[in-house]
C-alpha cells in the first residue's frame, strides 16, 4: 500500500491577526511538525511505501492519490483535518486520525474518519495498516503507552524532504521521554502520554541526533525533564553524550531547551554549566504557566516577581538567552496583568518574547473545569491556537482579554525595529 501522512495546517498568531505583521519587527519562523508522524511512520511494517505532506507548506490537494491517508493533528489543526478527511472520504478514500486531538476528543472526530487512534500510535500502527490492507479498518484503536525500548528512531527524513524555499526550520525536536506524573492545569501531556515517565534509549537519541547533524540541523529539547528525581541522571548522561559526540567531531548543534522559571531558579549550577557546554544558548520559557509567574503576573505578588526576575538573571549569568512565551488570561489575571508583564520584561531585560492567550485545550484539567463552570463559549477548533478567546475569563471580559493580548504584542515590540534588524537571525526570529 501507499500510505500518505498529512500534517494539517492551522492558523498562527499573524494569520489570525495580520496587524501583528506590522507591529512585530521579527522574522517569522515556521517550526517543524511535532514528531508524531515521524514516529508512527517508522513503525510501519515492511512492504508499504510512506510519504508525507505538510499542509502548512504545500496545501494538501484532495485529489491526491493514495491507498491510506493518516492525519495527525492537535486542536488548532482539527478544523482543517476534518475538512481534508471529509473531502477524501467523499472520494471514497480511507482516512485515519491520530494525535493529541483525536485522542482527547475521539467522539468529535469519529464520524469524519474511518478509524481513530487513541493514545500513542506505535503500539497499534501495524494493526491499522494490516486492517486497512484487508479492508477491515475498525472505528477505534486504543493504544496503551508504548514501550519505548524497542522503538526505532523517528523517520525524520520525511520532514527534511518536505522542506522548501521559505520553509527550512533551523532546528528539529528531540524527544527524551514520554509521560509526566504532574498535573499542571493547562497541560494535556499526562492525560495523553500517561503519568508514568518512560525514557528513550541512548541509542535512539544518538541515532536521531546524528541524523539531524548530518542534515545540518540543530536539535532542540522541547521539554526539560531533568527536574524529576528519576530523570536527572539520565538527563545528565544525555548531556554528557552530546559533549562526547561533539568531541568526536560530530557536527551536533543544540538550540534550545523548554524549561520553566522556577526550574531555572533552582537548577543545580553544575547542570546549568553542563547545558551551556553542549552549546545550548536559549531557554524557551513559558511565563504564566507555573506558580511563580502566575503569582507575579496575576495578583502581582512582589515575592514571586522577584523570583521570576532572579530566574531570568540566572539565564543571563550563564550566557543563556531566555525566550519567553507569555500566557495571559489565567485564573488570577486581571486588567493589570498586561502592564505587570510588560514591566517584568523591562526589569528583567527580556528582549525576545511572544504573547499567547491561555487556552483550555481539550484533555487538560482547565478544559474540564472551564466546561463545568460554563466558561467555554467557542468550539470552533481552529480558534484554539492561543490567539483567540474561546472562554469567559474570570476577572475581565473576553473583549478586554483580547485587547490586552494585542496590546502586549504592540507595546513590547514598539521601538525595537532597529535593534531587531541589527541582531543575528536566531535572535530576531520568533514563531508568531
Amino acid at each position: 500500500m501507499k500510505i500518505t501522512f498529512v500534517y494539517p495546517a492551522f492558523e498562527r498568531h499573524a494569520d489570525a491577526h495580520p496587524e501583528l505583521k506590522a507591529w512585530v519587527p521579527a522574522n517569522e519562523y515556521i517550526g517543524p511538525p511535532s514528531l508524531g508522524i515521524a514516529c508512527v511512520a517508522a513503525a510501519t511494517p515492511p512492504g508499504h511505501t510512506v510519504e508525507f505532506i505538510d499542509d502548512r507548506v504545500t496545501p494538501f490537494n484532495v485529489d491526491h492519490e493514495s491507498d491510506l491517508f493518516a492525519l495527525s493533528f492537535f486542536t488548532p489543526a482539527a478544523t482543517r483535518a476534518i475538512e481534508i478527511a471529509d473531502a477524501l472520504r467523499a472520494r471514497g478514500k480511507r482516512v485515519v486520525a491520530g494525535g493529541i486531538f483525536p485522542s482527547m476528543m475521539p467522539e468529535a472526530v469519529a464520524s469524519h474518519f474511518d478509524a481513530v487512534v487513541v493514545g500513542e500510535g506505535e503500539p497499534v500502527w501495524a494493526d491499522v495498516v494490516n486492517d486497512a490492507e484487508h479492508g477491515a479498518l475498525r472505528p477505534r484503536y486504543s493504544a496503551p503507552p508504548a514501550d519505548l525500548a524497542p522503538l526505532v528512531p523517528p523517520q525524520v527524513d520525511l520532514y527534511l524532504g518536505a522542506e522548501r524555499d521559505g520553509y527550512r526550520p533551523d532546528d528539529y525536536p528531540l524527544q527524551i521521554s514520554r509521560g509526566c506524573p504532574l498535573h499542571c492545569d493547562a497541560c494535556v501531556l499526562p492525560e495523553y502520554l500517561a503519568p508514568k515517565m518512560r525514557f528513550h534509549s541512548m541509542d535512539y537519541l544518538t541515532a536521531t541526533m546524528k541524523r539531524y547533524a548530518a542534515a545540518g540541523k540543530l536539535a532542540s529539547f522541547t521539554e526539560d525533564t531533568s527536574f524529576f528525581p528519576q530523570a536527572r541522571r539520565g538527563f545528565r548522561e544525555l548531556i554528557e553524550l552530546c559533549v562526547k559526540l561533539q568531541g568526536e567531531g560530530l557536527n551536533l548543534r543544540l538550540s534550545y531547551i523548554g524549561i520553566s522559571l522556577p526550574i531555572i531558579l533552582n537548577l543545580d549550577p553544575t547542570l546549568l554549566a553542563d547545558l551551556k557546554r553542549t552549546g545550548i544558548d536559549r531557554f524557551y520559557v513559558v511565563g504564566g504557566f507555573d506558580p511563580v509567574t502566575r503569582g507575579a503576573f496575576g495578583p502581582g505578588d512582589p515575592k514571586m516577581l522577584d523570583k521570576a526576575v532572579r530566574a531570568i538573571a540566572r539565564c543571563h549569568e550563564f550566557g543563556i538567552d531566555p525566550y519567553v512565551s507569555f500566557l495571559v488570561g489565567n485564573r488570577d489575571d486581571d486588567e493589570g496583568t498586561f502592564d505587570r508583564m510588560l514591566e517584568f520584561t523591562r526589569v528583567a531585560k527580556i528582549d525576545l518574547a511572544e504573547f499567547c492567550i491561555s487556552t483550555p485545550y481539550p484533555g487538560t484539567p482547565i478544559w474540564r473545569r472551564y466546561n463545568d463552570e460554563g466558561r467555554v463559549f467557542d468550539r470552533a477548533w481552529k480558534h484554539y491556537n492561543d490567539a483567540n478567546i474561546v472562554f469567559r475569563p474570570h476577572n475581565m471580559t473576553p473583549e478586554r482579554l483580547f485587547e490586552g493580548y494585542l496590546y502586549l504584542w504592540r507595546e513590547f515590540y514598539q521601538g525595537r525595529a532597529r535593534d531587531m534588524s541589527e541582531r543575528p537571525h536566531t535572535r530576531s526570529t520568533i514563531q508568531f
Binding site: 506524573p181 503519568p195 515517565m197 531533568s226 527536574f227 524529576f228 528525581p229 528519576q230 530523570a231 536527572r232 541522571r233 545528565r236 520553566s260 522556577p262 526550574i263 531558579l265 533552582n266 537548577l267 543545580d268 507555573d290 506558580p291 511563580v292
Partner: protein
C-alpha cells in the same frame, strides 16, 4: 564515616540550606518543606532530584509527591538505598 542514612541526611540538609536560603543549623528534621521552610513544589523536586542523582536511586514518584517534612525526605531516599532506621 556515618551510615548511609546519615550521609543522605547530610546532603538533604546541605541542599535544603541552599534552596531555602536558611542556615543549615536552623533546619530541623521535623520542619515541613512547604510551610516551615518555604519551599515550592519545584524546589521540592529539585531537592529530591539532586540527592537521588548523587546516591544513584530512583525514588517512586507517588511517594515523592507525598513527602511533607525533612525527615520524610531522608527516610524516603535512604529507604531506596535499602537502609532503614
Amino acid at each position: 564515616m556515618g551510615t548511609t542514612k546519615e550521609k543522605v541526611a547530610d546532603r538533604v540538609f546541605g541542599i535544603l540550606s541552599e534552596l531555602a536560603a536558611i542556615p543549615r543549623g536552623d533546619i530541623r528534621g521535623g520542619d515541613r518543606l512547604r510551610e516551615d521552610l518555604g519551599l515550592d513544589s519545584m524546589q521540592n523536586m529539585e531537592l529530591l532530584s539532586r540527592v537521588a542523582e548523587e546516591f544513584n536511586i530512583d525514588p517512586d514518584m507517588d511517594k515523592v509527591m507525598k513527602v511533607v517534612t525533612v525527615d520524610e525526605v531522608v527516610t524516603l531516599l535512604a529507604g531506596h538505598i535499602g537502609v532503614g532506621e
